[in-house]
Subunit: 323 residues, 2 copies
């Protein structure tokens, strides 16, 4: 199924075929991650849940997919200049790693207040880190400066056809691995993964976005039809604080079944359930999907439901085991 | 390879064939758990590490294997009386679940001070819980009482040929899954899993036990040749506080390459590495294996090394995510 072409002036003509091509292009550089089930979570929800484990992906999140697809779509001339982005999180690490894999340079603009664990994850892959103030204006200025200075190719974190197609390969693998899914639940921040999952679903199942109440721009954009571009999210789900992208909004508005809001308490409880039942260390952003299944049983009971666990980059050093 | 028969009056004639038979007997009631790898942990250790994920086993630990093997080896007459044990940990849950699977009753003697998470795991499977004081004498008295009253079959946690054969199937699966292992590292508490792993290895690789310095009875027994039967362990690795079993000691003394001691700090650091790199929520007892590989590189560098992650039953509710 193709998203409509050039709706509202935005080119969103991405097809399942684009996702298949992206999958072929990146396959040797990513993990085909496992799909897990839990008898006790199935019993608790009255559904058959299939968890796609993208926290086990290279760099610890699905972002490895889109970044590698974008980097590998550059021609040799472009690639020789390297790539650049601004990111305080998983996209920065994913782009750094994709560049390292291709043997090209990556410039990552990182706000000074970014979590140490995420900065370390970026540095691990040998990227050049450019620190700046944490405001969006400062980040964009620093990025513009490095792009002008080096000629590096800007690779946006989510609002980009190459990124959407790359992220969608996670849903593609889930659909290929689990026959007869009735529904899929996908976290929505910038919307790249949700848009890609909608295209992957090809209209064969209901696809829901799951979003924190404390970062509800996708919900408000979806219900009003007007994309929210400014908000000040305070959610613990740090991967979902970004604002819905323009391309992604067009695809989501046309094809998504709905955006399901969950509270911070529900996110925390669902994260602990995944930790204790699946024994998988996911970050809070990954937990919004199970939180949504628990809060809105009317959509999921007796159904076969795919949930994407998006990442596992959470700082664990504060934890003390209780003997 | 068979362990010697009746060494020192103890019958330890368990063969790899017994393990194969146990595997056939329990296979439909357990998970064949995944084997995971991590590029960054390989880089850090200079070895190729293969983690056998028994924390993803039914009931959250490898104990599900031995318990099911023991229960399924009862004849109909015996089974009709049910099973009993005393346990504050994973064996209790494993036996409760094995009994439930066979439709027989389980009596689990639990000290009043057992962690709530472990008590809940036992109750989950419908066992009859008998609370008692936490001393060994009180536990044994309560167990003797319930066995006399009900005729239930006592299923010991580790010092038992059926248990050893069942636990050894975890190592058997690991060896079948990973060609050309040079070494295996296995946590040692009561020694059932280590004894079973030694039999599974059939002398084809080096097998090490890994043990907390704070619970070093297996190390002292192994090095002196005299089994330590009294000690007061204080380790955070609560699954390894038990004392080495008599049968297990005979097998370990004859076949084990060595017992590697690790400190509490090393256990904690290794646990956080598994959490942050593998994204797997293991309990402290599982972390002694990686801790040993890090502390004793001379045994493992450039080798293909299998490590058994034994369980994931750790309380996570104290954790606060850092956004």
């Amino acid at each position: 199924m193709a998203a409509s072409n050039k709706t509202g002036g935005v080119d969103v003509s991405i097809t399942t075929n684009d996702l298949r091509q992206a999958h072929v292009l990146i396959r040797d550089g990513i993990h085909e991650t496992a799909v897990m089930q839990s008898a006790s979570l199935n019993q608790m929800t009255g559904a058959s849940l299939f968890f796609k484990c993208e926290h086990l992906q290279k760099t610890g999140s699905f972002k490895a997919r889109g970044a590698l697809n974008a980097v590998r779509r550059l021609d040799a001339q472009q690639a020789s200049k390297g790539v650049a982005t601004h990111s305080s999180g998983n996209h920065g690490a994913a782009l750094a790693r994709a560049a390292a894999l291709q043997g090209i340079v990556a410039y990552i603009v990182v706000p000074t207040n970014a979590p140490a664990v995420k900065k370390a994850n970026i540095a691990l892959h040998g990227a050049q880190i450019i620190e700046c103030e944490s405001t969006l204006a400062a980040r964009e200025a620093a990025l513009a400066d490095v792009v002008e200075r080096t000629g590096a190719n800007y690779i946006p974190p989510y609002d980009d056809a190459r990124i959407i197609a790359g992220q969608g390969t996670a849903a593609l693998e889930l659909i290929d691995a689990v026959a007869g899914l009735d529904a899929m639940v996908v976290p929505v921040g910038g919307g790249g993964l949700l848009a890609g999952s909608l295209i992957a679903s090809a209209g064969q199942m209901q696809v829901f976005g799951a979003e924190p109440e404390m970062a509800d721009d996708a919900y408000r954009s979806f219900t009003t039809g007007v994309r929210v571009t400014r908000h000040t999210p305070k959610t613990m789900a740090d991967g979902l604080r970004t604002t819905l992208g323009e391309h992604n909004f067009v695809i989501i508005r046309e094809q998504c079944q709905g955006i399901l809001l969950v509270s911070e308490a529900e996110i925390g409880a669902a994260m602990l359930l995944v930790w204790s039942r699946l024994k998988q260390l996911i970050e809070p952003s990954s937990a919004v999907t199970l939180a949504a299944v628990l809060r809105y049983p009317e959509h999921f009971q007796q159904k076969r439901v795919g949930l994407i666990l998006t990442g596992g980059n959470v700082s664990v050093t504060d934890f003390s085991p209780t003997p």
